[in-house]
């Protein structure tokens, strides 16, 4: 297990877990989200390959209503 920070909250997750697996774990449909790892935007095409490392800072964003 490794510690990963997701939107500011620490979580213990399996080592080498991918971004796609985290999205599935969180029940997030991937169509409308963006993922940032350690301040770098990770393109959608890389989510299933991108493996997380201990202490990674992950940020998940979604579209919300706005003007």
């Amino acid at each position: 297990m490794i510690e990963i920070h997701i939107n500011g909250e620490s979580q213990q997750l399996a080592a080498n877990i991918t971004l796609a697996e985290i999205l599935a774990l969180k029940h997030i449909t991937p169509q409308s989200v963006a993922v940032v790892v350690n301040h770098t935007i990770i393109p959608r095409s890389q989510w299933s390959q991108h493996q997380c490392q201990a202490d990674d800072q992950l940020e998940f964003f979604s579209a919300v209503s706005g003007g």
Binding site: G8, T29, I41, R44, F60, A63, V64, G67
Partner: protein, 258 residues
Amino acid sequence: MLTIADHQFESRLFTGTGKFTNSATMLASIEASGSQLVTLAMKRIDFKMGLDDLLSPLQSRGVKLLPNTAGARNAKEAIFAAELAYQMLGTKWIKLEIHPDPKYLLPDPIETLNAAQVLCEKGFIVLPYIHADPVLCRRLEEVGCAAVMPLGSPIGSNQGLATEAFLKIIIEQSSVPVIVDAGIGAPSQACRAMEMGADAVLVNTAIASSANPILMAQCFQQAVQSGRKAYKAGLGAVSHNANNTSPLTGFLTTRKVS
């Protein structure tokens, strides 16, 4: 037909998706407004709250999405937000808004111009939200913005076209579409902007904060259509003195009344 970048719009009323009491009212209001371009914001997901599926009902209605960079305080953050929106929504259209001051939400012109230049070079279709500054509008046009979005009055204030004199200059000088954004509080004000020759208006708060948003959305649609037609027809000249519309031949005064 209004063309922005390579996209054509039949409706010249653009709408926001914020401040509605629920998403059903928001969707029904957008439908009633006839809007074909709607703005969206972005936010960190709150996993406890879950995800509100905002996108699929909008996409199924065929409206074009215009994500904004609200929350960005400088050019660097706004560029990051635009890249984020591209990854999230697959669109290079971006409403560039940089307002570091939370009280009046007035846009920072220097950061906006810097961000616009970078984003245009990266191939984004940039629609910058700015003060009604004709000089800035020209500079934004020069760096490649697809349109300009000068404010009528502060965001969400419903104060109307406080910047009218400057909007007129922008409309006169601009060779890209001018979308009057922010502050339009009543259909009459949207109509006025269109009569002046604005290419479109963007309305959110005035519809969302109405007691009957769906009906108000219809009112805005009609006001925008009417204002556009009036602009095309050409308004009559304004004069200080009265000009009679009926012949003053004096038929009453020459007649003896018995």
